[in-house]
């Protein structure tokens, strides 16, 4: 299998990796880099558990090929906290029980981060629109919406 060398930034640090042409960004992140915070709930773009930021935009990592991220900047859930300080979204998910089993949480947090970055004061409908591709089977989404709103209120 032809290997491609790619270089990219992930959570602020530069990385180089050898990937095949069919390696997904999800398996690059989880298996090659060992960053298991990003989850695999379907591998077919249907659940949102694998959401990461690619050049600031949320993508389903299972639907992106690793070769496409050469030169790109990636942020995963592990990159949200800065210097041991939780991101305000993370704080609010803790505070408001926005997480139960937690398997959807990394993807939800990344998607919410992307939302607040472009829209610091989202309405309920805007939050729902942003998170429409992130399935959660535990919470009924109520506390997820609450946590995102609380984070926005606390300055996003």
């Amino acid at each position: 299998m032809a290997a491609h060398q790619i270089t990219f930034t992930i959570n602020g640090g530069q990385e180089t990796a050898l990937v095949t042409s069919h390696t997904t960004l999800l398996s690059l992140i989880r298996e090659q880099l060992g960053l298991t915070g990003t989850k695999n709930g379907c591998a077919t773009g249907e659940c949102g558990a694998c959401t990461v930021l690619l050049n600031g935009e949320p993508v389903n990592a299972c639907m992106v090929l690793a070769v496409e991220v050469d030169g790109a900047e990636i942020v995963t859930v592990e990159g949200l906290a800065q210097d041991g300080q939780l991101d305000v979204l993370q704080q609010m998910f803790v505070e408001h029980t926005g997480t139960q089993c937690g398997f959807c949480t990394p993807g939800v947090l990344i998607m919410a981060r992307a939302l607040l970055d472009r829209n610091p004061n989202p309405s309920d409908d805007e939050i729902k629109d942003a998170l429409r591709g992130n399935l959660c089977r535990c919470t009924g989404y109520v506390r997820i919406i609450e946590a995102v709103k609380a984070a926005a209120k606390a300055g996003g």
């Binding site: 379907c42 659940c47 859930v77 029980t97 937690g102 949480t105 959660c136 089977r137 009924g140």
Partner: protein, 742 residues
């Protein structure tokens, strides 16, 4: 012991929340070991066939393949939670008669273990399986008919179980009945869709134990079943749960556990497996589809006098927990009402469909769908208010249930009904009884109709029908002059519901220390004793009772200067009994939770789309140990039940699942949730509950579907007796009544 309000009753943060939001919490698929191999499980290609030969040569010769395991490799080739009726691997040469037959598409036939995941998958396809097809039966009514293909020698005409209730004198009941309503209710499959698909790792630990790291609901039960299949003593098997990505009953039965243990044990190397979403949806059991025929009678004043039902559940190819699920439905199909004359026959039936088993509510939702449908129809037929008719009939302290015995002490159905109704903002109590405050306001858009409806229910807490029930907890108090640290060992699975946080709250209160001094050790059979499963809404109740006494005893030892002060307590609840085979008479359960729901919907009569506008969910939780977590359970269960009632449509044709993907099996997204869910949390202590607490996590699931149906009736004047209420099914039913014809 004095109550310490700073811990019990507070919405303290989940112990695991930070780990989960920073991505540090490890789920089974996140864990790797040096030198690990990968496994691919080859499932059956047929719904009913004899496996006459398995040719593994090509797969074994494939570069990177380490081993292919089949039926001949399984020491005791059988398993099953309530009876070992399923082969671990189906194929010839097995240690058990009948294990050469596949009975459904999720039967496992071979395990391929290879150096990489990809290699294992490629090689699995190279296995040549020769089948000799057997006649299949995929319909319950056909399965019980004479001449149907027989799935198991122990189940004549495929009847796994038949329960009866013969209570009072049903003929006398019908004579007293002044109004009679009937219905044939159908409920569909439901798939759990826990977000974390099955994954795990098997290895041999330092003490030579076959160890399986996996997500489950009852570590000690997993251990028992793995040990049985491997022919090993239980001490040589260890089960470890890391973070569990949801369960909802779907992890009560085995999926990958035995396969992982077998592979690790045979190869003496770590072996990992991760199921795809498709494998997960095909590979584990479902909520049972039910057909229920019910006929109920009441006097003109609305007093129930007779209830009769026939209940059929499609168990699928193996028993799983079907005898228990149908046992629950058998009781709950009569509703939480006092009915002097009752006759019920309930059947769990084997078919070549996918096996069915535990799913939040455990037979309760199906039973309640019929019972509450009947109650709402009776109210309608009598021109009575649905809350009022229930107030006249609910079981009170000491009332005799349909199985001839009273409920355990602490019956609060009438309080839950009354407080729920009052807080729903739809009902009020007048001099003449309960009544709607005002008729449902209709939208101005002609295609939209609004309706308001309600339903209620009861659900057992803990294992039923005489099943052994226990929970072990150990509390260790460490320190010297002052208490420095308190450790609780309690195996109870935190499947996402927050059990560990609640355990910590209870220990903190029991010992009288702040929460941050408490450490919970669980999820490992090497570290804890059996606590039973995280199911039947039982963990707060059962673990709480064990923890409370263990904490008291440890504290006593601490006071008498023991260092560390350690106490272990095994809580055993009051005994339950199975159904009498002829009359159904039983003491089925030792505790219950009670609930009522009030629902407003808007239906588009052109498209059939249902919008659940508002849900008011009222629960007696006994004591809210952590109110925020309780609200989280209510909100989550309501949305899961909404999916069950109106969206989730698992299509099974000729025994095969047609839509094993999240793009085709649709669960609620954030756009599908009610615009408002109001939790009404009531705290009437259960005299047997720790701190008065009752279980509650299944309860909000149970009445929602019939409450939605009642609201649809209010909106359209039509009863819907089939769920899921997909837009197509709603449209076709409306058109039968010439509603919404364009």
């Amino acid at each position: 012991m004095k109550e310490k309000a700073f811990v019990i009753g507070q919405s303290v943060r989940r112990l695991d929340a930070v780990g989960k939001v920073i991505g540090e919490a490890l789920y089974p698929g996140d864990i790797d070991m040096e030198d690990q191999l990968w496994m691919k499980i080859r499932m059956s290609d047929r719904v009913h066939a004899r496996v006459t030969a398995i040719d593994t040569r090509q797969a074994e010769a494939y570069p990177g393949v380490v081993a292919v395991l089949t039926a001949t490799d399984v020491p005791v080739n059988e398993y099953g939670l309530i009876m070992p009726d399923q082969p671990v691997l189906c194929g010839p040469g097995s240690s058990k008669a009948g294990a050469d037959i596949v009975r459904c598409i999720s039967d496992q036939v071979a395990l391929v273990i290879a150096e990489s995941e990809e290699t294992a998958a490629v090689a699995a396809d190279l296995i040549e399986i020769t089948y000799e097809d057997l006649p299949a039966v995929v319909d319950v009514m056909q399965a019980i008919a004479d001449g149907a293909p027989q799935l198991h020698a122990h189940a004549k005409n495929n009847v796994l179980n038949h329960y009866r209730i013969r209570h009072g004198d049903i003929n006398a009941g019908w004579e007293q009945a002044e109004v009679i309503v009937e219905g044939e209710y159908h409920t569909g499959y439901q798939e759990h869709v826990y977000l974390q698909p099955e994954a795990g790792l098997g290895y041999i630990d330092d003490e030579k134990r076959v160890t399986v790291v996996v997500a489950g609901q009852h570590a000690h039960e997993d251990r028992e079943q793995v040990a049985h299949a491997l022919g090993l003593p239980e001490e040589q098997v260890r089960i470890v749960y890391p973070a569990i990505g949801g369960a909802f009953g779907g992890r009560e039965d085995m999926s990958i556990q035995i396969a992982l243990a077998l592979a690790a044990w045979k190869l003496q190397r770590p072996v990992k497996v991760v199921w795809s979403r498709e494998e997960s949806i095909i590979g584990h059991h479902k909520r049972h589809p039910f057909t229920i025929r019910a006929r109920w009678g009441a006097t003109r004043e609305g007093k129930l006098v007779a209830a009769e039902a026939e209940v059929y559940a499609d168990a699928g190819a193996y028993a799983y927990t079907s005898t228990k699920v149908t046992g629950n439905a058998h009781l709950m199909v009569n509703g939480p009402y006092e009915i002097p004359n009752v006759k019920v026959d309930t059947y769990g039936v084997y078919t070549n469909n996918i096996p069915c088993g535990a799913f939040r509510g455990f037979g309760g939702p199906q039973g309640a769908f019929a019972a509450e449908g009947q109650m709402n129809k009776l109210a309608d037929a009598l021109g009575m208010d649905p809350v009022q008719i229930r107030a006249l009939n609910v079981l009170e302290e000491g009332s005799i249930t349909s199985v001839g015995t009273p409920l355990p002490p602490g019956v609060t159905l009438s309080k839950v009904l009354a407080e729920g109704a009052a807080q729903s903002d739809y009902w009020h109590k007048t001099g003449a009884g309960w009544a709607r405050i005002s008729p449902t306001e209709q939208p101005t858009t002609p295609a939209k109709r609004r309706g308001i409806g309600m339903a209620m229910g009861f659900k057992n807490i803990g294992f039923s029908f005489g099943a052994p029930e226990e929970n072990w907890a150990t509390v260790e108090i460490h320190g010297d002059a002052k208490i420095e640290r308190v450790v609780v060992r309690e195996a109870g699975a935190d499947v996402g519901q927050g059990a560990h946080t609640v355990f910590a709250q209870m220990v903190a209160d029991g010992v009288g220390v702040p929460l941050d001094k408490v450490e919970v050790i669980g999820h490992d059979t090497a570290e804890t004793d059996n606590s039973g499963s995280s199911s039947a809404s039982r963990m707060t109740f059962m673990a709480g009772n064990a923890i409370k006494t263990a904490a008291e005893q440890a504290l006593e030892k601490w006071r008498s200067e023991q260092r560390p002060a350690v106490a272990t307590y095994r809580y055993v609840p009051p005994k339950t009994t199975p159904y009498d085979p002829e009359t159904g008479r039983a003491n089925p359960n030792f505790a219950y939770g009670y609930m009522a729901q009030f629902v407003e919907v808007e239906v588009d009569i052109e498209t059939g789309h249902i919008d659940v506008v508002r849900v008011v969910s009222a629960h007696d939780v006994g004591r809210a140990i952590n109110p925020q977590q309780i609200e989280g359970q209510i909100e989550g269960a309501v949305v899961q039940a909404l999916g069950y009632a109106i969206m989730e449509n698992l299509v099974v044709k000729d025994g095969r699942i047609q839509n094993p993907f999240l793009s085709t099996y649709l669960i609620p997204t954030i756009w599908d949730i009610p615009r408002e869910t109001k939790s009404v949390i009531l705290e009437y202590a259960d005299p047997r509950g720790p701190w008065g607490a009752r279980g509650m996590a299944e309860m909000p699931f149970i009445p929602l579907a019939p409450a939605i149906v009642a609201a649809l009736h209010d909106a359209t004047g039509i009863w819907f007796d089939h769920i899921p209420l997909t837009p197509e099914s709603v449209v076709s039913r409306l058109r039968e009544h010439n509603i919404g014809v364009i």
